[in-house]
Structure formats: structure tokens, C-alpha cells
């Protein structure tokens, strides 16, 4: 038994019913291809475990080729946390000395060198003045890796938080990675190594609360015992309590708006956009969520993410959506890339923070 006793036991608990498949974004967008769903991952793992299927480079890559949305965690009638289990399996194989796909192996070094998986050490604070230094504040805005690619996201987010709470700071050029993407990739040992740096930087500003653009990072701050919330959650509360006031929207007739929330959130983004847009809002299917987890599959050959994006945009067009609000910076980045590369027309995508700021 290749996987060792504990993991084998968990993997073998799967009763193979397929309940996890019908909630899986990749299973759905591939036209229900069994290979793409969580059931296949568990069943194939159990075959690899007994030697019925060869353990190969392709198999290891396959274990990373998912949207990491976590929907299967909730779907299992025998309460297997499938997505979490697959992360543990990735960790196990790395621990055994197996080497994950190329772009994934690069992650720990990039994060250690540059605080971001882009691997560019000077870029994280580009949206801030060159001489920016973090100060003590009650709210810490955590910008995340993608801030450097799309400065309009941290700028609009920071501005909104400032309007609500005033006393806000951010970690700037030296903002360490929260490590969530490494954790999902199976590098929990590297996370242990880098997290003290994050703890230290956060302590220096001693915030009461962290508001994070990167919704997968919220979990990392909670582990540190800090009160942490996603930007969407923060904005929703601010809208509800009237701390952010919206201009009366101009209701255009041919204007349809939808949203891609983070898979980690509790659908706050949906509520926000519905609140703002009223009748112009329309919903996408439940599986149309995406965040930093999708980055892992995009680091492979990208075909799975592209299939997902193609189908989401198709669903949006079928609903006559011409504005698509995206909660997560990483998802915004990946979709923007897809739209540019494939020259998709007729749909404008906009980050959640900017969508709100434009209406205040």
C-alpha cells in the first residue's frame, strides 16, 4: 500500500456513489467526463495504492488538475472531505520525494524569494508610493499576490476600506505570502517555514482585524488567531450598515450583470451585486466560482481552466450578461488572460472592489 495506512483508509471509504461528481465544476464543464470529477480521483488513488494503476508523472499531474474549489468537501454522503484529502495526498507524495509538475515545483522558491508566486520580488507594492511604510492601524488590508498585476484592485479596495474605517494600513512591498496556495499544492512544510515572517509583519502593525482581497488567505489569518474577513464580507456589511452609500444607478435596459464569487466565500459577492443591480442582476450556476485554487490547474497546461472559463462565459452570454463582476483578484487575472487570448467580445469584466467604487 503506497499511501500508508491512514490515507489508504480514508481513500477506501469512498462508496463510489458519484454524489461529488455532480457538484464538481470540471465534471460539469467537460460534459460529465468521469475522469474530471472527484470520484475518479479517489478511485484511481485507490488503484494506484494497490498497484492496479501505475503511478506515473501523468498521474501526479492529474492530482493537481482541479479547480480546488472544495465543493466536493460538502457533497459526500459519507462525509469524506475529498478536496482536503487530495491536498493531503499531494503532501504525502511530496514528502515521499516525488516531484510535482514543473510550475508547481517552482512555487516554494518563488514564494520564498519574492513573497508571491509571480516570483518578482520588487513588484508587490507597485500600487503604493515608493516610500510607503506600514504603520500601526486597526485594520490591515491584505492585498495578495495579484495586486502587482492589477493595481486597480488594491487601489480601489484600499480606498473603500479607508472610507469605511479610516484607520487602515497594508504591508506594502514586503507583504509576505499567506502560504495558502502552497498549502493547497501540498507544501505545508514550506508554509511552516514562511509563516513566521507573516506573523511578524502583522504584529508590527497590530491590527484588530484583517481584510483580505485574497479570499483563500482568510483561512491563514484565522489560523493565526486573528479576526479576518474577506473583502466581500467587509463590503457587504458596510453596504448593509450604510457606511458605504451608493449612487442611484442608471438603469440601462440592455444591461445585465452577473458575478463570479470566490469558492471560499459564503456568496457575499452575489448578494452585493444583486443589492446593487436589482433587476439587472442575474445568477450563474453554482459551479461558477473561482479563486486562487484555480491557479494550481492554470499552472499546468491550462486546458482545464480554459474549459471552465469558456463554459462560464457561454453561460453568461446565454443570460445576456454584458458585465461580469469577479470577486477574486486571481480569478479576475486568469479570466482576463483567457478573454484577451481568445478575443472574447461583448462582455466586460470588472473586479468587485472597482465595481463598488464606481458606484459610490
Amino acid at each position: 500500500m503506497m499511501l500508508g495506512e491512514d490515507l489508504s483508509f480514508e481513500v477506501n471509504r469512498c462508496i463510489s456513489c458519484g454524489a461529488c461528481n455532480i457538484v464538481c465544476p470540471l465534471f460539469i464543464v467537460t460534459g460529465f467526463q468521469e475522469t474530471a470529477g472527484p470520484r475518479a480521483r479517489l478511485r484511481l488513488l485507490s488503484m494506484v495504492n494497490t498497484g492496479a494503476l501505475e503511478f506515473s508523472v501523468e498521474f501526479l499531474e492529474y492530482l493537481y488538475d482541479c479547480m480546488s474549489c472544495g465543493k466536493c468537501n460538502e457533497a459526500c454522503p459519507v462525509e469524506l472531505k475529498i478536496s482536503d484529502l487530495i491536498v493531503k495526498v499531494r503532501e504525502f507524495f511530496i514528502g515521499q520525494g516525488y516531484v510535482p509538475p514543473f510550475n508547481i515545483v517552482q512555487l516554494p522558491r518563488k514564494v520564498k524569494d519574492s513573497n508571491s508566486f509571480f516570483g518578482d520580488s520588487q513588484a508587490k507594492g507597485v500600487w503604493l508610493p515608493p516610500d510607503f511604510k506600514p504603520e500601526k492601524a486597526s485594520i490591515l488590508y491584505y492585498a495578495g499576490c495579484w495586486a502587482q498585476e492589477y493595481p486597480e484592485i488594491p487601489l480601489s479596495s484600499f480606498e473603500l476600506i479607508k472610507r469605511v474605517e479610516g484607520n487602515v494600513t497594508t504591508l506594502g512591498y514586503e507583504e509576505p505570502c499567506s502560504g495558502r496556495i502552497l498549502e493547497m499544492a501540498g507544501y505545508s512544510d514550506v508554509v511552516e517555514e514562511i509563516r513566521p515572517r507573516l506573523v511578524e509583519r502583522v504584529r508590527e502593525v497590530s491590527p484588530e482585524k484583517v481584510v483580505s482581497s485574497c479570499s483563500v488567505s482568510v483561512r491563514a489569518f484565522k489560523f493565526m488567531g486573528l479576526e479576518a474577513t474577506s473583502l466581500s464580507n467587509f463590503l457587504l456589511e458596510a453596504l448593509r450598515s450604510g457606511k458605504i452609500k451608493l449612487k442611484q444607478p442608471i438603469r440601462l435596459r440592455k444591461h445585465k450583470v452577473s458575478v463570479i464569487p470566490s469558492c471560499q466565500s459564503e456568496w457575499e459577492a452575489k448578494e452585493i451585486v444583486e443589492m446593487v443591480e436589482g433587476e439587472n442582476f442575474t445568477e450563474l450556476p453554482d459551479w461558477a466560482c473561482c479563486d486562487c485554487g484555480a491557479v494550481l490547474s492554470s499552472l499546468l497546461d491550462g486546458s482545464s481552466f480554459n474549459k471552465w472559463a469558456e463554459r462560464v462565459l457561454k453561460e453568461a452570454k446565454e443570460r445576456q450578461v454584458n458585465v461580469l463582476v469577479v470577486e477574486e483578484p486571481s480569478c479576475f487575472g486568469l479570466i482576463t488572460k483567457y478573454i484577451n487570448e481568445n478575443k472574447v467580445k461583448g462582455i466586460k469584466i470588472i473586479p468587485l472592489s472597482q465595481f463598488i467604487l464606481n458606484r459610490t
Binding site: 489508504s8 462508496i15 460529465f32 475522469t35 478511485r43 484511481l44 454522503p77 459519507v78 462525509e79
Partner: protein, 442 residues
Amino acid sequence: MEELVGKLEGILGEGEVLTDEISLASYSYDASGYIYRPEVVIRPGNIDELTEVVKVLMDYRVPITPRGAGTSLVGGPLPVNGGAVIDLQMLNEVLEVDEDQGIVQVEAGVKVAELNELIDGRFMPINPDGTGSSTIGGLAAEDAASPLSSVYGTVKDLILGMEVLLPNGDLVSLDGPVNRSRRNLIDLLIGSEGTLGIVTSVTLKLPTEPEERMAYEITFNDLMDAMSLAEEMEKAGIRQAAFEVYHNLGLVMGSAETEAVGYLEIMGPPECVNAWDSRIRELSNRVGVTSINPIDPYEADTIWKERAKIYEVAKATKSALKVGSFKVSPSSTRDFVQEVDRTSNRMKLKSISVINPLLGWVIAILLHKRSESKEVERAEKGMSEIVRISNNMESSMGYGLGVGINRISADIDEGFVQIYSAIKRSFDPYWLFNPGKLIERD
């Protein structure tokens, strides 16, 4: 093989003809625990593609195994002789919806969850695996049953017509007003487990949701009491929407000493349901049940629709399930269940039997740890033993779930095998449609 794959790709384009190890492995299992790997997986996007693909495969004399969602508990969609698996889930168009009549026509890959969404106030009462993921094609092929089958029957009772692709490549329609002879043909194809043809579309009538419902949990000291209660209720004219009795449930879950726990649901107009309610309590007293308690109909829903009790057992015991489904005469139900107990004891495995007294339907479940190969072997051996015993007791295998790999042989049922083989040969002379299922080749 290469030439064949080339031709198939010529029809479907690349990407839907799968031959890599990982894809082949992911079409090698269903929910039964058996593993058989196909040589090629084919995923047609519409009925025309399917038809062309089947013609090519027949020319090359390649065994063809149709597959829906792969939730079969008997290895139905597994290619025991190798060859091609055809994944039908992309045939998922809803062709027609008649809201007034409650009649829908859908392609074979449409899933139960989707059927439930088609018409407000109507639903698909046969949701065999409970999650809504199985396909109507799979349901038709297995003539699937559910706990609600006491009132709604099996899938064949909902199906009005269908379209089928035959092994000779002809696509035939059995839709439209039904006369006796057409009905006979429809009934022959339903439950044929993909051995005679591939169902491409189905027309079915969805029933309306009931007006009023009541549900109970009843415990019994003796399984016979449950049988008598069902009989008494029937005599009293009480419509039992579902009555399922779980034998050994308490034992396996480590709780009660009662021999059996039953879940009963009645449904209908409020006047009837209320009158039946007091009658049921009276009858329960007379029969001598240990307890009877009303439960929330929503809880009953999870028991029927989500197969909650079965999943609870799998969860609590962290076990896989080896499942066999049998139709038993009321007088021998008790003996049959005892035989299941004896066999599981001998195999050192825990077992649960789920009994629907009214239908004489018994699902025997052997619990085993999949991580222990010895237990897996004992479970398989135990189930074959139960199949053998069922035959001696004049019960028949395969109500609902289908027969699949367990195959009926001439020494089990000579008449059936003789006639079915003749039919099979006339439909499929080269024996290429789902070989190794339902009957032993004579």
C-alpha cells in the same frame, strides 16, 4: 486498434475518444466495487454521432458497453470483455416538456436531478442512488426501483415510450400511443441492461407531488411482525407510499436490540391520511410492534430520496457495501433474510437487509472494508452464495438494481436463459452489446 481509434476520431473529433491510462481507469468502475478496464472510451455528443460510432464498432466486432452515470451496484456499465465503453451523459437534451400533462421527452443522459426541475409541482419518484446523479437511460436499462415504488411502481411504470439504437445500427422509435404489442416491446427493452439496445431517448410521465403526507418510525422485535403489519395495512386499504424495514440496523449501528426498524410513509388527500393514521396505530398495536413514532415527512424524504439510512451505515462503520437485490415471495421473506444473516456470519461480515414487505423486495448488503483485500473477497463470495440460496428459495435476482455481472445461468433459470438467449441472438448475433451481463452466454 489505431485504425479504429482514427475512424472514431473522424466522427467525434479528438478529445472525446479516450485511450490514455488515466481515462481508461476512470471508466473501469461503478458503485459495485468491481473493476474492468475498457480499451477505449467514447463520448458522443449527440444521437447521430452515437449511431455512427456504433456502426463502426460493430464493423470491427468490438464489444460495446453503454454507460450512464456509473452508479450501478452490480457492475452493469463495466466492460467485462474489454472493448469500448460509450459514455452517454452528453446526450442530455430535454426534447419536449408538456407541463399540463406532466409528460417529458428527454435524451438518455438526462439526470434525475434535472428531471425534478422540469415541471413545477411534479417530480421523479425513482431516484435510486438518492443524489439525483443517475441518468434516465441507466434507470430504464435497470428498470430502477425506489422505496416509493409501492405507489409509483418501477421506472417502466413511468415510461410511455422510447427511442432505441439497435445493434444493427437502426434507430427505432417506440414513441406514440401505446397498444399492447408496442407496450410488450417497450417492456422487453426496459430492464434489458444494455444487452439489446442503447436507449437514446425516453418519454415519461412525472407524477404530481402528494397533497398530504405522514411518516413513522416503527420498531419490531420480529421481522414477521413487520410483514404482518404490511399485510394488515393492505387489507385495510391503506396506501403505503413507502415501507422499508431495516433488519440489523440497530445491531450494525451499535444501538437498539430490536430486530428491525421500519420507516413508513402514507400519502394522499388529507381526509384519507388522517383516517389512515389512527387505523395504522390500531393495527400496530394489534400486531404487537415495539414502538411507533411519527417522524417529520422531511426526514422520511431524506430516508427515501437521499438513501440516508444506507449512507449512515457506510459512514458510521466506515465500510464499503456489497449489494444484491432480490424479489422474494412474502412467505419466504423471513427465511431468506435469515439466510443472508447466516451467510454474512460465515463470512465474518456484518450485513443489513432492507425489506419492502409489500413488494417482496429485499436488498442484501454486506459491509466490508475495501482496504482489506481478504474482506473484499469474502464479500464477493458471500454475495454469490446469497444469489445461489435465493435461487433455491424461488426468489429472483435483480429487482431494481439489475443483475449485471452476477449473470443468470441456465442452472438458475433455464426457461429465462433459453428465451432470452434467442432474443439476444436475433437482436445481436455477435453478442457485442454489453456482453457478460444479465445472462450467461449459452
